[in-house]
């Protein structure tokens, strides 16, 4: 499950062990530097390129996971 991997990355970078699928990144104390680290982790660990604008538009585990799944659906 993408959502599980995404949640694990969020928990690690936000230093928070209890994140719900619809918790808001900024409400969890997220900042641009943390977002950068998450973007980096998506690329390194999940092999997906997620533009920063998409991270801002999808500030929850559920929505960014759905976005990543949509990327994989069109990938070769």
């Amino acid at each position: 499950m993408i959502a599980d991997s995404v949640r694990a990355i969020w928990c690690r970078e936000l230093k928070c062990d209890d994140i719900a699928a619809d918790d808001d990144f900024f409400t969890l104390g997220g900042q641009s530097v943390i977002m950068f680290k998450i973007q980096d982790a998506f690329l390194t660990e999940l092999g997906v390129e997620v533009p920063m604008d998409q991270m801002f538009l999808n500030p929850t585990v559920a929505s960014i996971s759905a976005y990543i799944e949509s990327l994989e659906a069109v990938a070769p």
């Binding site: 409400t27 641009s32 973007q39 533009p51 920063m52």
Partner: protein
């Protein structure tokens, strides 16, 4: 102590857009701007800006007026900016990444706002400001009927070209204006001193509201080079790095913290696009050289790092330092170097007298770069622009509020602020601005915001709140604050306290709060008993 910049004569009319026009006439087919693969030539950009200038002139918008620009980075943004300058007016950048409520507050501070240029993607944020909003896309047919030649507007070097918001010590953002001659002088200095030319293509990586972004926007057009934009509203290291890799970019202007992110990205993936740049011009916050050291010493690194210092009130950059000198050793604080052309740095004591060699004083700036002051500002803020006597002659200076000294090599060194303002990731922030926003929230009786460094060395804001009720949670406060403040101003941590400690003068004792930080518990997602930092 005075540190004098080289005197370099400016043309009789140091008007920024006329330099762009000269480049457009000399190389009309050169590419002025590239975004998402789409190119616009100098001739086309000039013609579109001329048409928009005619549109403004026909509506009576001219000298002493301001035009708001609320657009994402795009050719249209340059059309709006250049058209505004050609009409003789000044532009004010509004970052569409800001919350709408913050944009409304800022818009209300602009004294002679004639209209706002927006796009379908941004107009919703500025529509309710009570000011005309125009959309260049919707105006396409109308603009096409206007002349493609420049309107006959007389603009001088003393006219205001842009105004940006800076944090004011009264807690309200201040709109600080700069003049054409200051901006011209800045870019002329970069061009001549560092040899920028028509091949010095640039990538913009900073947020639109920054003073440094205005320089980043215009310098390539001033030099006849190409401007590259990311198709992204938010800074995106991944996208920025890809553009650096794929195109012949030579120059990047950015805040220090942005440079760290780019360096980290390159280091993690082993590219060399950054090391192939001619220049990175950066600054705006205390430099953490350890974040750059390994990268800077890489074999074959051809990039010159220019560590710069300046204030928005004095056209953005006052001094510059080639970091190569720092790596040779012997410095405790990273210098910010020597003044720009036609710019002097004075180190003054409280009585505005020069301090002795090597002594600390308030950094004051004089010369071509000193700006036009705060627009609409009647109060104490403008007192920072004052006149001192140097060798018997009056000299207009701006008191920056920064502390500095001249080191043994003759370079300026900056060591903090004289007042409460702080820098968080390159943004000059006044904690009282955030305290006022907190104070307007229901459930908050009183608040104090302090800055402290985390274990990782990041500068972070913490808000101490005296709640009126028990159930005030961090999530609740943060969500409501995010509606009114830019993310950079929303504290990373919130701490409930029973009362705020006071200094002997009866002011909130920020030092005591900072000291108590370690003893406090951050609020969790649930209700928490307030603690008392006064104990």
């Amino acid at each position: 102590m005075i540190l004098q910049g080289k005197r370099v004569a400016l043309p009789p009319a140091p008007v920024v857009h006329q330099q762009f026009e000269a480049n457009a006439a000399a190389t009309p087919d050169a590419v002025a701007v590239v975004r998402a693969g789409r190119q616009v030539t100098y001739a086309e950009l000039d013609a579109r800006a001329n048409r928009f200038a005619h549109f403004l002139t026909a509506r009576g918008v001219g000298r002493a007026a301001q035009v708001g620009v609320c657009l994402d980075y795009s050719a249209d943004m340059l059309v709006a900016i250049l058209g505004t300058l050609k009409a003789g007016a000044a532009y004010v950048p509004f970052d569409p990444a800001y919350p709408a409520a913050r944009l409304q507050l800022l818009l209300g501070q602009v004294p002679s706002l004639a209209l706002i240029v927006a796009s379908p993607g941004t107009r919703g944020m500025v529509d309710s400001a009570g000011v005309d909003v125009v959309d260049l896309e919707q105006l396409t047919d109308h603009l096409a009927r206007l002349p493609a030649t420049a309107p006959d507007v007389h603009v001088t070097g003393d006219d205001v070209c842009y105004a940006v918001f800076t944090s004011g010590s009264t807690g309200t953002p201040k709109l600080t204006a700069v003049r054409h001659k200051g901006w011209f002088n800045l870019m002329n200095w970069l061009k001549l001193e560092y040899g920028l030319h028509s091949g010095s293509h640039n990538l913009v990586v900073s947020a639109f509201g920054f003073d440094l972004s205005q320089r980043a926007l215009m310098t390539p057009l001033f030099c006849g080079a190409t401007q590259y934009f990311m198709a992204s509203r938010n800074f995106d290291a991944m996208m920025a790095y890809r553009i650096l890799t794929q195109h012949e970019i030579r120059v990047v202007h950015c805040a220090s913290s942005t440079l760290y992110l780019l360096v980290d990205w390159e280091t993690a993936r082993g590219g060399d696009a950054l090391t192939r740049l001619d220049y990175v011009l950066f600054g705006g916050e205390p430099l953490k050289t350890q974040r750059l050291a390994a990268w800077a010493r890489r074999e074959g690194n051809a990039c010159t790092l220019l560590h710069q210092y300046g204030v928005a009130e004095c056209t953005d950059v006052a001094t510059s330092y080639d970091l190569a000198g720092y790596w040779r050793g012997g410095h405790d604080i990273t210098p910010v170097g020597r003044p720009a052309y036609n710019t002097d740095i004075h180190l003054l004591d409280e009585e505005l007298r020069g301090v002795g060699p090597g002594q600390y004083g308030e950094i004051c700036v004089s010369g071509a770069s000193v700006g036009a002051g705060y627009l609409g500002g009647s109060g104490p803020e403008n007192a920072r622009f004052t006149t001192i006597e140097v060798d018997g002659a009056p000299v207009r200076v701006y008191r920056t509020g920064d502390r500095g000294r001249i080191d043994q090599a003759g370079d300026l060194v900056v060591a903090g602020r004289m007042d409460a303002q702080v820098k968080v990731r390159g943004m000059r922030i006044d904690p009282t601005d955030i305290e006022r926003a907190l104070g307007r929230l229901a459930g908050v009786r009183e608040a104090a915001v302090v800055v402290a460094s985390t274990a990782a060395g990041e500068t972070e804001l913490t808000a101490f709140i005296v709640p009126t009720r028990d159930e005030l949670t961090e999530d609740d406060v943060r969500i409501r604050l995010l509606q009114t403040l830019p993310r950079s101003m929303v504290p990373a941590r919130f701490v409930n306290v029973l009362r705020l400690p006071l200094s002997p003068h009866g002011k909130v004792d920020r030092a005591a709060l900072a000291d108590s930080l370690e003893k406090q518990y951050a609020l969790s997602g649930t209700a928490q008993q307030p603690t008392d930092p006064c104990r």
